[in-house]
Assembly symmetry: C2
Homo-oligomer: 415 residues x 2
């Protein structure tokens, strides 16, 4: 079985100096995998002619398909397109449909057209131009010595449009691809090495074309099985068999058998049971509510949320007692209990979570150091409270607390 | 002037199949830049012996420094460390201090120690072992033919610890590095090509060692000047001169002269003026509150927030009139005005923002298609309302709406 392989090249200094985080490559890899195309190299380089020429040649040596993003905007250094011309031994010509499209965009927005916008319609003569309905820089498809190259803008929604409308369908036609399938189990409550210990015998008998990977993700652990095979249906059946065998070994720690956010796991559970949820957040500042509402359709079970950052708001909105705050402080079991009760009453939901903690970098004391978080999760009938000591930076502490809070509520609902 | 250059290699299939987004490289690049080390290539490869050997050799050909993350956890395939031994012509030996550290961790947590944890203390004999106080896999520093290689775990906070405690200080000692400095201006309200048009003369006279880059970021535009020079102080002075000249050309659209989140710009403004803020969020689901509280010290000006996803909650918490919802719907100028008024009263703040919209994928109508968002921002005395039509997916629409809302409030406060 020979795999169809791809390299992704991103062009632009913003990725090299750390100003931008590359989210394009992850999306592209997922879509390519779904077609059975294996991305085995990703390379980020700057807007430098020699680096672009050298990297194009090297990656074409490694892979069947070379996908390039970036370096094409109206203010890009005039490097990428001329360099592509040099590499493919061609010259820039004006592409009439692209010019009309660019003129149309500017006209419809009532904006004057600039030379640099007109220049977006200049493309290498040797390429097939791919229409970009989301912007002014078109995509470009090249073929050379049996390899396919596609150059696209780096703006995520423009790249996605070009991939979905043209590149992915064309690649599916171009290549008879074997299957590359993934199935991920999410677990909670057991460390990576202990899970691995329990799966030793299972792992040992996996055939060479099925791989198991462990991916810690905040307080959760993802176990991913990847299968390669000639035929998609057969491979899927085989993967499913092994996946269910693995799952049967971990019933006590399984969260979900799909690679979805924990907020979506909670959402599905609430939808199944016809129950609603709300949140009362102090240190997580609305992140839990934001994660819950990230899920399309969450209005079916999410009604609202209060972020009570100050003690005043904890008392006013959630009815936390002044005496409680006085005696135990805002970061205490007593306070999150009252916040939870207040949220259930105010938001009129079946379930709620309440979180109060110290995320850092400042605000810690000897008794309650940075990273101390109290969580309450429950309903009118049943409640659980937990304290965590988080050891990371502000951002990660906040995300960890949000994962813990959602997971505690998930476990309580399942009890 | 010869630049000290680095390549970053990440090992692990999770980056290649798109399951994980690489945030490590951006952080590493920023820290290296601060030392004057230029990251000119980033390469992601899988856990494959041949790929690792080949990529190590190739990147050492390109760069002075090769930083490697990933492939070292307790459940990693036994590939990275043996492959490093092969490349550096050495063998695995037990490192006593690491073994003691691993034993200590498991003992202090009351967990049994497993063979795979003990194995974390096996390291290539040729390396300098770097203590990892955040985990069990140590860092490893190698030198070969004048090049430096460092291998680190891929878990972000472990990698950061190893970089900060050892790698960055050692690299600073190792290399006499020229300066690489960045300064970013954030603008709003004018398209990339029009800003570029205004800066044509400015850009034309920039010396070759100072580069200008345009980075659209949601509805904002970042203009980044990068300067390279032998001497840090001289280079900084020169960069500052050009930066202020650029800024003077764009007074009407300048948001801030630092590369910080828009929520931090708002926060600084509120702190300067001694004013407070709250949010009333429907479609953004708490994201604005979450961004505001991401900023350390935000408790000085942020008191609280309500997420009113249902109409019931809009009426109950914010006092939106049933007649308003009936006549105009939840996504309307009238509703966000009442939400704003309700938020100012409930949260007792000087300023607030209110947002209501349809983020997709479902919920649109002919009159109010997906992407319709109403924003109100203001105080008791002064209010602005704006409607936007966002054209992206749910996630990006939500983030765009949050940026717009914060920016509208920022502009109103400055008026």
């Amino acid at each position: 079985m020979s795999r169809t392989t791809a390299s992704i090249i991103t062009i632009g200094d913003e990725l090299l100096i750390g100003q931008t985080i590359d989210t394009n490559s992850a999306w592209m890899a997922q879509e390519l995998n779904a077609l059975g195309i294996w991305v085995h190299r990703r390379v980020a380089i700057g807007d430098v002619r020699e680096d672009i020429l050298d990297t194009l040649a090297k990656e074409a040596g490694y892979s069947d398909i070379v996908l390039i993003t970036g370096g094409l905007g109206p203010t890009a250094d005039d490097i990428t397109k001329p360099t592509l011309c040099e590499y493919f031994d061609t010259k820039l010509v004006q592409h009439e449909p692209t010019l009309q499209w660019v003129l149309h965009i500017f006209e419809s927005r009532g904006l004057p057209i600039l030379q640099r916008n007109v220049d977006q319609a200049m493309v290498p003569e040797a390429c097939t131009v791919i229409r970009n309905e989301k912007g002014t820089a078109p995509g470009m498809w090249f073929e050379k010595e049996g390899k396919v190259y596609v150059s696209m803008p780096g703006v995520p929604y423009e790249m996605k449009y070009i991939m979905q409308s043209y590149v992915l369908p064309q690649l599916a036609l171009h290549y008879k691809t074997p299957a590359v399938l993934h199935h991920t189990l999410i677990t909670s409550g057991m460390g990576e090495s202990f899970v691995a210990e329990r799966l030793t015998a299972f792992e040992a008998k996996l055939p060479p074309h099925i791989k198991l990977a462990y991916l810690p993700s905040f307080s959760l652990l993802k176990l991913r099985l990847t299968a390669f095979g000639e035929d998609k249906l057969t491979t899927a059946a085989e993967l499913s068999l092994y996946f269910h065998e693995m799952m049967a070994l971990l019933p006590d720690i399984t969260v979900t058998d799909r690679d979805i956010p924990i907020a979506e796991v909670l959402g599905q559970l609430l939808k199944e049971k016809g129950k609603t949820v709300g949140t009362a957040e102090s240190c997580t500042g609305g992140l839990i509510a934001s994660w819950i509402t990230d899920i399309p359709g969450s209005s079916a079970y999410f009604k609202g949320s209060v972020v009570t950052y100050s003690n005043d708001m904890k008392m006013k909105l959630l009815g936390v007692k002044p005496a409680t705050l006085q005696a135990h402080g805002a970061v205490s079991e007593e306070t999150v209990k009252e916040m939870l009760g207040g949220a259930l009453a105010l938001l009129e939901t079946d379930y709620a979570v309440a979180v109060s903690g110290i995320m850092g970098p400042d605000g810690g004391t000897e008794e309650k150091p940075v990273g101390t978080v109290w969580i309450a999760a429950g309903s009118r009938d049943k409640m659980v409270t937990v304290r965590f000591h988080l050891r990371y930076d502000r951002e990660r502490n906040t995300q960890m607390a949000a994962v813990y809070a959602i997971n505690e509520l998930r476990k309580l609902i399942l009890q």
